[in-house]
């Protein structure tokens, strides 16, 4: 059956999957692992006892309504329709909405607030880009079909052949992706900002005093600046190497400034390599509903944005939430140790198809249908293009959309009553 892959931000819409034989076509290893059957959360549970969907949702609504400041977190691996109910639910219970990008690409959001983004689509990269720089990103392991479909081997209107394209990888490690590049620039951890600053100086035609910056000799930086300046259409595709290292949002801000400068000489764009299939939606949906992308507090009855206070990790470190709803995400596995500690002290509600580390801490567990296999809806591909993900098979599990719609209805009833 024609399918749309719901693993990474590529949201590949050219794949096929047969649910009977469990075989797929054109999938990468990650997509195939996603679509194959695996252990599921079997039934809704409350405090270790199996219950009905109605009972579990009732209990979840009760926890959310009776808490002072619940944190509603996750959203990157579900569809826009479900996220929309999540945002409205957060507003109703006067909680805090935060999403996976908070520990992923949110520094890019902060940079865009400061600088804007000179961006473009995957189609533009495929058709036009003659210089492609992967900076702190490793597509062969995180987005395996990105190079073939869009950025390295892909043939486009103006780019007819791999030889028409120069591919550069900037990274701390010699990753698998570094090995497919024409040029690999190895940098020291945490020196992205300094290197970008040096490149800005060199592109402007200024000299730099140091002989090396962040482990890269001056000559190599000059060569890189030269390649950038002489591109027809260049793109920096950055990853978590840039956002999770020293400098975080300031690294992206500096990179955007470099791109602005390069646009005086050539056409250049910059774009993040987004991880989960709808992590863009987890930011865009609240942006269209209430104006912000993450770390949104509704405790005063109107939305306020402040990552220093309302991002999930900061909330948990400060013990500033007294309940948590986790949707399609696993913060117990992916947050720093000290942040996870507070999750053990508060009621946690989980909505997810698969048992994970957050399941082990959850008081209320609500299994859901897998979007792209058992449920349909809209998702934003990594470049902001909306793609309709498909339902291939009927399932006894409720979709995230149905669960959250029902939870919102009961919460509203309780608040009115």
């Amino acid at each position: 059956m024609d399918a749309v892959c719901t693993f990474c931000g590529n949201v590949c819409d050219d794949v096929e999957f047969d649910v009977n034989t469990q075989k797929g076509k054109r999938f990468c290893a990650l997509g195939l692992a996603k679509f194959r059957e695996k252990e599921r959360i079997k039934s809704p549970m409350v405090d270790g006892k199996e219950v009905s969907y109605e009972e579990a949702i009732e209990k979840a609504a009760e926890i959310l309504v009776s808490s002072k400041k619940p944190l509603l977190y996750g959203w990157a691996s579900t569809v826009n329709e479900a996220i929309r109910y999540g945002v409205i639910l957060t507003e109703k219970v006067r909680g805090v909405y935060d999403q996976c990008a908070s520990v992923c690409h949110a520094p890019g959001t902060l940079a865009v607030i400061e600088e804007g983004i000179p961006g473009g689509s995957l189609g533009a990269i495929k058709n036009r880009a003659d210089v492609v720089i992967f900076w702190g990103s490793n597509p062969l392991e995180a987005h395996p079909r990105h190079p073939t479909r869009y950025s390295v081997m892909a043939k486009g209107f103006l780019i007819k052949d791999r030889k028409d394209r120069k591919v550069i990888v900037v990274d701390v490690r010699k990753t698998k992706s570094a090995k497919m590049a024409d040029k690999f620039v190895q940098i020291k951890p945490g020196y992205d900002y300094a290197i970008i600053s040096a490149l800005r100086a060199l592109v402007k035609g200024e000299d730099i005093e140091a002989n090396e910056v962040g482990g890269v000799p001056k000559e190599e930086l000059a060569e890189l600046a030269d390649i950038m300046k002489n591109a027809k259409y260049g793109v920096i595709l950055y990853g978590l190497g840039v956002t999770q290292s020293r400098g975080r949002d300031r690294n992206i801000e500096n990179a955007v400034k470099l791109i602005q400068l390069l646009n005086r000489y050539a056409r250049w764009i910059i774009w993040p390599m987004r991880g989960h299939y709808n992590v863009v939606g987890a930011g865009e949906v609240p942006a269209w509903e209430v104006g912000y992308q993450y770390a949104i507090d509704f405790s005063r009855g109107y939305p306020r944005f402040s990552p220093a206070e309302f991002s999930a990790v900061e909330m948990l470190l400060r013990k500033d939430c007294d309940a948590m709803l986790v949707v399609s995400s696993d913060p117990a596995a992916h947050f720093p140790r000290r942040a996870v500690e507070h999750m053990k002290n508060i009621p946690v509600i989980q909505i997810d198809p698969f048992p994970n580390m957050t399941t082990l801490l959850s008081n209320v567990i609500i299994p859901s249908a897998v979007a792209g296999i058992e449920a349909e809806g809209w998702a934003y591909r990594m470049d902001g293009i909306p793609v309709r993900v498909k339902k291939l098979v009927d399932s006894p599990y409720w979709s995230d959309e149905k669960i959250l719609k029902e939870m919102l209805r009961i919460v509203e009833e309780k608040l009115e009553g």
Binding site: F7, C8, A29, L30, A33, K34, K38, E39, D98, S102, V103, A106, P107, L110, N138, L140, E141, A142, P144, V172, R173, K174, K176, K188, P189, G190, L240, G241, T243, Q244, S245, R246, R248, D249, Y294, P307, A308, S311, A312, V313, E314, L317, D330, A332, A333, H334, F335, P336, R337, R338, A339, K344, P353, F354, P355, N356, M357, T359, L360, L361
Partner: protein, 122 residues
Amino acid sequence: MIEVEIISGRTIDQGKTVEEKLSEEYFKAVSYCEMNEMDFKKLGLKEGDRVKVKTEFGEVVVFAKIGELPRGVIFIPMGPYANQVISDDTDGTGMPRFKGVRGIVEKTEENVKSVRELLGVE
């Protein structure tokens, strides 16, 4: 004992098993650290040996492997093991420092905990 900078990140095996976190395959995919061959030898390690990684934010025991890394840099796949030792300080952005945290690595005889033991739950 050697001083290192710790980075974490995705791997293909971490990605393939990310929806099966309570499985043996996920445990294998995330409970190791890669280091330069010279550092590996300096610590007197053999294949299958374990190391303790310590930072000001915590410590964790993981399996040691040789990887293509500069001396003094170790890589732990993203996940619960890396998260025992990375920096929880977000500098006001919400983003912890998952990459480039200073720490030390030493050989240990201690066991590598399961994900349940790490979390401290049954």
